[in-house]
Every structure is written in C-alpha cells, then in structure tokens.
C-alpha cells in the first residue's frame, strides 16, 4: 500500500488495492441506547467520504470504532485489508494506521509545531523524521512556523498543523471529526478548500464527520447520511439531494415540504394541481407523498387563488416565502431577491417546469408503483 505517497497518481492504487476501510455489520450499543446498528460501509482508496446526521445518530461512534477508541459489539472492521476489529481480534489504536483530526485540533501544547508533526514518526531516524515533517509542513504551507508553539497560531493554522500531523505517518485512512466547526464562518470556507485540496493531492482516503449539510454536499465524493444508528443513504452528493431515499434524508439534507399526492395513469396530482408526469406509472393508481423543495416551487399572485403568503424571510440573494394552502399545509418557495409578495397576498402555487420530484410511500422513496413489485430505492 503506497496510496498515500505524495507523488502517486490518483487512481493507480485503486486498481487491485483493497478498500481503505470496510465495516461489515458493525454494531455498538451503550446499555440499551443504540450507538451504531449493523453498519456496512466500503471506502475505496482515495475516496473522500462525508458522514452526516443529527447529533446522536452514531456518526461519532462510527469514528471512534474505526479509530479503535471503542470496541464493537459485533461486526468486522478492516483497514487497508487488515482486520482491526471483529469478535476475536482487536488492534490497539496506536497500531491501526488511522489518522485523526479533531474539532479542537488537539495539538500537543507542550511541543512545537515541528515536534507535533514529528510525533507520529518515532519509528524513523531523526533526520528522516525532520525531513518528512518538513515535507508535510510545506504541503500545508506552514514551514515557516515550525518552531512556534500551538497557542501562537491562529485557529486555521492550528487546523492545518493537525492535518499535517495526521498525514505524516501515512495513515491508510484519516478521520476528520467536525474539523471546521471551531473556525470562524469567514475562515471556514477557505480552510475547508485547503484541506480538501491537501487530501486530494496526497491521495489520502478521508472520512469527514459533519453536521453541516452544505459542507457534506460540497466536500465529499460520497455522502453517508446516518440517523438513529443506521445508514439512511450512501450516495453521491447529487443523488442524496435530488433523489433522497427516505423521508428523513429529504428533510435533513436541505429544506423540504411534503404534500399528500396521488398518481393516476402516470399523472402526479396534489393539492396545488398537476405536479408532473411519472414515467412508468401508466397503470397505477396510488397514494403517495410528494417531496417539494423551495427552489422547485413557483408563485404567481392571483386574486382568486386560495393560497396565501403567510410569512416572508429576506435572505439576501433570495427571499423565502411561506405559503399557506387551503388545507392549512405550508409550502416554502425561494424567490429572487427583488420579488417580495407581502404577507396575505393570494398566490397560485405551481411546480417549476422540468421538476421530477421524489415520491414517498410511508417513509421510503419509491421509483416504481407501490402495488407493482415495490422496490425501495437504495444505494447502488
């Protein structure tokens, strides 16, 4: 395994190399509380995966299990093809080749930046150690700060040192636990871009835990949405957002409103009228829920409409309109910043042309008619 060598062309090692990380049926319970339940996940080398979910969903537990800070109750974890935890074996965290980057950066306050980066290189001779540390500090553009102590650095610099330190021993996978959430809003985007660039440049496999939807969608090559100890969906960012597989994913990854709807002869109708056609549902006659995102909902003022604008939120570039339908249900709609319908305005609500919204039966997304060999949309 040389997947983390700086010069290795991305993808070369993907051929024939074992996955950087696999979890098979991994379960961890805390007393009666569920941590992680039967989790399956394969992370190929070089992938940058984001793990997202509400607090308590099990994402941090997953990280601790992979790092070796917890022992799984059941299941198997492998790192770069080596079993590090199953029912019999347990490899101590210091022997796992798993790097960690924390929200608080966790730099050793009594060591200089250089010594922090060298900490994980104690197997090397001191000359090699120094040159490897220098290499990493160059990579994060902090070579000039090697003799400083952590408290003399800014938050963003500390974060970069933490990344360099984690990468120095060439770990098979680096786990990042909400690494940007302690940074200022203004700094966060820049540090995030730099971090992602560094991980890509070194071809490092990364698992990034976050609770920030935008971050999860923009950083990862794949997004894993967790809830209540289970994986709800593991897909590309686009799929997770555009084709959520469950009601939870639809509402957690971005704003979503749900309306009861009906499909009859491939025609999707709901309270606001015809929404779209549903290819392949020609013979069906089924009740579903339709997922409508605010950017898909169009408004036009019309004196005889039954829907009324109930609240208006100005967000700068866009204005979010809350619309109360005749049934009492509410939809939200993004409008350009110069469009503002006062509260109480009667509006006609339609769905933007070309939208093919997600349909739910119960809490699951469906792509084929429910009566007709129901198949639940899951990750391919």
């Amino acid at each position: 395994m040389t997947a983390q060598t700086k010069s290795a062309p991305a993808g070369r090692d993907a051929v024939g190399a074992p996955p950087a990380l696999t979890l098979e049926g991994v379960t961890k319970r805390y007393g009666s509380a569920r941590g992680v339940e039967g989790m399956d996940l394969v992370v190929p080398p070089g992938e940058l995966l984001t793990l997202i979910g509400p607090s308590g969903c099990g994402k941090s537990t997953t990280l601790r299990l992979v790092a070796g800070l917890e022992r799984p109750d059941a299941g198997t974890i492998t790192v770069a093809g080596r079993v590090v935890a199953d029912t019999r074996r347990f490899v101590e965290p210091e022997r796992r080749r798993v790097g960690l980057v924390f929200q608080d950066h966790a730099l050793f306050p009594h060591l200089t930046v250089g010594k922090n980066v060298e900490f994980g290189l104690h197997d090397l001779r001191s000359g090699e150690r120094r040159s490897r540390a220098g290499e990493l500090l160059d990579l994060v553009q902090l070579a000039h700060l090697a003799d400083r102590y952590p408290h003399e650095l800014s938050g963003g610099e500390q974060q970069r040192v933490a990344l360099a330190r984690a990468l120095a021993p060439r770990p098979a996978v680096v786990l990042l636990d909400e690494p940007f959430s302690s940074l200022d809003e203004s700094l966060r985007a820049q540090v995030r871009r730099d971090t992602v660039a560094t991980l890509r440049e070194t071809g490092t496999t990364g698992v990034l835990v976050t609770h920030d939807q935008t971050e999860a969608l923009s950083v990862g090559t794949r997004v894993v949405v967790m809830n209540n100890g289970l994986i709800e969906q593991a897909d590309s960012p686009e799929k997770v957002f555009e084709q959520p597989s469950t009601r939870f994913v639809a509402s957690f990854m971005g704003d979503a409103d749900f309306l009861p709807a009906h499909v009859h002869r491939a025609l999707l109708t709901c309270e606001i009228g015809i929404v779209s056609t549903v290819p392949g549902w020609a013979d069906s006659d089924a009740d579903v829920d339709v997922v409508l995102r605010p950017h898909e909902v169009a408004l036009s003022p019309s004196a005889d409409a039954t829907a009324r604008v109930s609240a208006v939120e100005y967000h700068g570039a866009f204005v979010l309109h809350h619309v109360r339908l005749a049934s009492g249900r509410t939809l939200r709609s993004w409008q350009p910043h110069d469009v503002r319908h006062p509260v109480g305005t009667p509006v006609t609500v339609t769905v933007a042309a070309g939208t093919s919204p997600t349909l739910l039966v119960g809490d699951r997304a469906v792509t084929t008619p429910p009566g007709n060999a129901p198949r639940i949309a899951v990750a391919p």
Binding site: A67, E70, R71, P93, A106, G120, A166
Partner: protein, 564 residues
C-alpha cells in the same frame, strides 16, 4: 490526619471519569492491584476485629463517651469559630478585613500537637498564668484543671477551625452569589436573602468542613494524651504498645472505624439529598456591609483573637524559647539528633511522596486509557485511606505484615520477612502511602482531567502506546499537578505524628515524634526548634492554598470572562 490537600480544590461533583479507549489489561490490572494493596490493611482490621473475642479495656464505655464528647465538642467549637469568622469576613467590612481573610487560615499550619504543648506551657500549674494567679490571690486559688477534656476541645478547635472556615467561606462567596442575586430581584431584602438563601445553601459545605474536623479529631491520639483524654484511638495505641495484643487492638480499631463511618454517614445526612451545585457564570454576589465605630473594631478584635490564640501567640512563644535555647546553649543547634531526626522525616516523606505521586499518575493514566467500571471503581478505592483514622491504618498494616510473615513461614521461608517489616520503616511507608494517596491522586487527576480527551486520542492514532503516551503526553501536561502533589504529600508526611508513633521501629525517630516526646516530658524549650521547623514546613501548602483560592476568586471577578 493532616489533609491540607483535601481543601485545595472544591470537591467536584462525582462523575464517572471520561475514558478515551477500550482499556489496557496490564494498566487496568495495576489499578486493581493498587486498590487491593490499599484496602488490605483495613479489611484485615475488620476481619480480625470482628472475628475475635479478645478482652476489651474495662473502661471502654468511658472511652466511647470521651471520644463522642471530644468529637462533638471540637465539631461545635470549630463550627462556631470557623463558621462565625467566615460569616464575619464575608458579610461585613471592617478594619484589616482584607488581610484577615487570608491570615485566618494560618492555624492550619499549626499541628495540634504543637499548639497543645504551647497551651499547656502557658496555662499549666507551672505556667505564667497560674503563677500570676497564685501571686495575686494566694497559693490556694482555684483554677480549672488544664489537663482535661474541655482544654483539649479548645486547643483542637483552635487548630482545626480553618477547615470549616475555608469551606464556609467558599460556600458563602462562590456557591450562593447567583441565587443571592435572584433572591434580591425577587424582592427579598438583604437579611432575608442571606437567611433564606445563602445560609441553607452553605449547609453542605459546612457539613463537609465539619466532617473533616471530626475525622482529624478522631485520628489524633497524640495531642489528646497531653490532656489525659482517653479516646478510642488512644485506646488502640495504648493497648498495642502496652500488650502487643493484636486481637484487642483490632477490636478497638474496628470501633474507631465505626466512628469514622458514623461521621461520613452524618455528613451525607446533613448534606441532604440536595445537590447544591452552582452553575452559571460570574455573578455579583452580596455586597459586604460596612461596619462602623466600635462594632467595626470589635469585629477586628474577634478575628485577631482567634488568629492570635491559634497561631501568633504560639509561634511567638516558640520563637522566644528557640532563641533562648540558642543563646544559652548554641551547641544545641549542632545536636546530631536534630539533623538525624529531620533527615528521617524528610526521607520518609520524600519516599512516600514519590510512591504516592507515581501510583497516582499510573492510576490516572490507566483511567484515561479506559477499562470500564471495574477500573474506575478500583481507582476510587485507592483514595479511601484518607477517611480511615491513623490508628486503624497502623494496626491494619501490622496485621497484614504479620499475616505475610506467617504465610512466608508456612511456605518454607524461616522467619518470614523477619524484621524487615516490624523492624524497619517499611510499615510506616506503607501506612503513609495508604493515608496520602488521596491528596496526591486528587491533585494529579485534576491536572490529567484538564487534558482534552482528543489529545489522548490523537496521540494514540499517531502510534503512541500507553508508555510513550505517559512519558511524552500525560506526564509533561500534568506537571503542575504532579509538582503540587509531591509537595503536599511531603509536607503532610513531615507533619504526621500518630502513624509514626504506632509503627516506628525501635530507635527510629522523626522530627514530629521528637517534638512530641520532648513536649510530653515538659522539655518545652527543647521542643521549640523542631516544632518551629514543622510549622515552617507546614505553612507552605497554606500559602499555596491561599494562592489558589485567591486566583479562583480573582478569576471570578475578571470582567467579561465568562467564569466557570
């Protein structure tokens, strides 16, 4: 017991220590072993004491009553003096108040066995007070008996009141300021807010201070002997030294243990079910009221009186004696015994301190590595020695070593450990470690807990195994706590008297024993110099303690700092 360290940090709410891994068998086993070694002597006392039917001293009933009277008397005395003074300096402003707030802690540095003999020298038949009375009123003037229970109560209250004082004060200023503000905004006037909110909130702290005082009283069996007061602890000492009868001594020791348990149970009961744990940031708290005129000076006089009786006068008297000694006979300073006994004290204290801090560090480190309930339970157990009276620990150590000897002989080692144990300082060291592991652990683990768990996890993920972690991460970062622990244990061990008295091998004397022996023979002038040395050593942790408290209070009032 001389647990200055017990006061160093306000008791944190008990919670399960955070763990950072899945535990390491070797390190977990070490913690369990330490716990077992610490618990063995006490278990031995309980097992042997309950399992035999040796004759108890005939005056046992009297001993129990005396012990009760002494503990209640000293408890009441320190509550009145310590609680009263804390109230005075917190609720009022008067001349010298800001200085007295800190000076009033000083009697903590004056061991009761030193204060006791100075008290006797002044008030006993040959002392200046009675001589003066006889000169004025004739030879047959009536004076109360000085070597008596009431006098012992006075002396011990004066030397122990700072425990209650410190606890009460921190409760008054820290714990209740937020609730005081709330009470005031709800329309209570100052007096009502103090009576209805502040005092009830201070109750658990008063109970904690009171419990410390009573434990100290119970564990003492040297000071009380100056005053011919026979407590059960004295009983254990006299029975053992008089007859070397294990069974009789252990039966009495179980009784002492029962008293200790009663104190802890009473503290729990007094504290009640309430968890008076204050949260929230910096608060104003109540404003001290300015006293004027005679009342102000009366307050100052009260504080000065307690301080003088508990510290200033005895130190002055010791200084006068010591200077007199040196002037009349300068060779006294060159007395080889002085150097030898002091060296003994420091040696025993130094070794104890290193062992205690080393063990504390290992236990704290093991806890951070994880290991679950068994390990954290065992870690708790290692600190329980502070609540076990010295007499019990002493007899328990003797019992354990006797059993070890018997076991070795059965295993074919003639003579067992021989005189290694009873004839050397090993027993003293063992007992000291049991007694002083708690303050050491408190200090070290407080420092360790400040290290972020993510730091430990990071070091692990960077390939540092447990030993490298200890050497490269945990120890360097816990250094302040380790330094404080080393110092506190050395000082407590230098001051310690009862355990050495009970366990010392023939011919082995420490500075504290020397003071005690000279004082018992009424060689007060001779005792003054080693006594001063002990007081001077003991004053160091008092300054540390005051510094810590001041810093905490200053921190509380830094503007804009959302204090914790």
């Amino acid at each position: 017991m001389t647990d200055t360290a017990a006061l160093a940090e306000p008791r944190p709410p008990r919670r399960r220590p955070r763990t950072h891994g899945v535990g390491r068998p070797a390190w977990s086993a070490l913690v369990v072993t330490v716990a077992a070694v610490v618990a063995t002597p006490v278990l031995a006392v309980v097992v042997d004491g309950l399992g035999n039917s040796a004759a108890l001293p005939r005056d046992l009933g009297q001993m129990i009553l005396t012990t009760l009277a002494l503990m209640l008397g000293v408890g009441a005395g320190s509550l009145v003096v310590g609680g009263g003074l804390a109230w005075l300096v917190t609720a009022y402003r008067f001349p010298l108040r800001n200085l007295l707030v800190w000076l009033l802690v000083l009697p903590l540095a004056m061991p009761a066995y030193v204060l006791g003999f100075v008290f006797l020298s002044v008030f006993d038949v040959a002392g200046p007070v009675q001589s003066f009375l006889r000169a004025v009123f004739g030879a047959d003037v009536w004076v109360p008996e000085v070597r008596s229970l009431p006098a012992a109560i006075i002396v011990m209250s004066l030397s122990l009141y700072p425990y209650v004082y410190l606890m009460a004060r921190s409760a008054l200023i820290e714990q209740s300021s937020g609730t005081y503000d709330a009470a005031r905004t709800l329309g209570a006037n100052r007096g009502r807010a103090l009576r209805r909110v502040v005092l009830p909130l201070a109750r658990p702290s008063l109970a904690a201070g009171l419990a410390l005082v009573m434990m100290e009283t119970l564990t003492d069996f040297a000071t009380v002997q100056y005053f011919n007061v026979q407590t059960v602890s004295v009983g254990v000492y006299l029975v053992w030294k008089g007859t070397f009868d294990f069974h009789a001594a252990t039966r009495l020791a179980v009784l002492v243990l029962l008293f200790a348990v009663a104190v802890l149970v009473a503290e729990r009961a007094l504290r009640g079910r309430a968890r008076y744990h204050q949260q929230g940031g910096r608060r104003q708290g109540f404003e001290p009221e300015r006293l004027r005129g005679a009342r102000a000076w009366a307050a100052t006089a009260l504080c000065l009186a307690a301080l003088s009786a508990g510290f200033l006068i005895p130190v002055a008297q010791l200084l006068v004696w010591a200077v007199g000694q040196v002037i009349s006979d300068a060779s006294f300073l060159a007395d080889p015994r002085f150097a030898e006994y002091l060296a003994n004290s420091l040696l025993v204290a130094g070794v104890t301190s290193l062992v205690c801090v080393g063990l504390s560090l290992c236990v704290g480190h093991a806890i951070r590595l994880g290991g679950g309930r068994l390990v954290s339970g065992a870690a708790q157990l290692t600190t329980f020695g502070y609540a076990v009276p010295g007499a019990v620990v002493g007899i328990g150590v003797l019992l354990s070593f006797a059993a070890l000897d018997a076991g070795l002989e059965r295993a074919g080692v003639p003579g067992g450990t021989g005189l290694i144990v009873t004839g050397s300082v090993v027993g003293i060291l063992y007992a000291y470690v049991i007694r002083f592991l708690a303050p050491a652990y408190q200090s070290v683990s407080a420092s360790l807990e400040k290290i972020s768990p993510t730091l430990t996890a990071s070091a692990l993920s960077l390939g540092a195994g447990p030993r490298r972690m200890l050497g490269r991460v945990h120890l360097p970062l816990a250094r302040p706590g380790v330094a404080v622990a080393l110092m506190l244990v050395v000082i407590d061990a230098v001051k310690e008297l009862p355990i050495v008295l009970l366990l010392r091998p023939f011919g082995f004397t420490t500075a504290s024993v020397w003071v005690y022996e000279l004082a018992r023979e009424n060689f007060w002038e001779k005792a003054s110099l080693p006594a001063l040395v002990i007081v001077a050593v003991a004053i160091i942790p008092v300054f540390v303690l005051v510094g810590q408290t001041r810093r905490r209070e200053a921190h509380r009032t830094v503007p804009g700092k959302a204090g914790q």
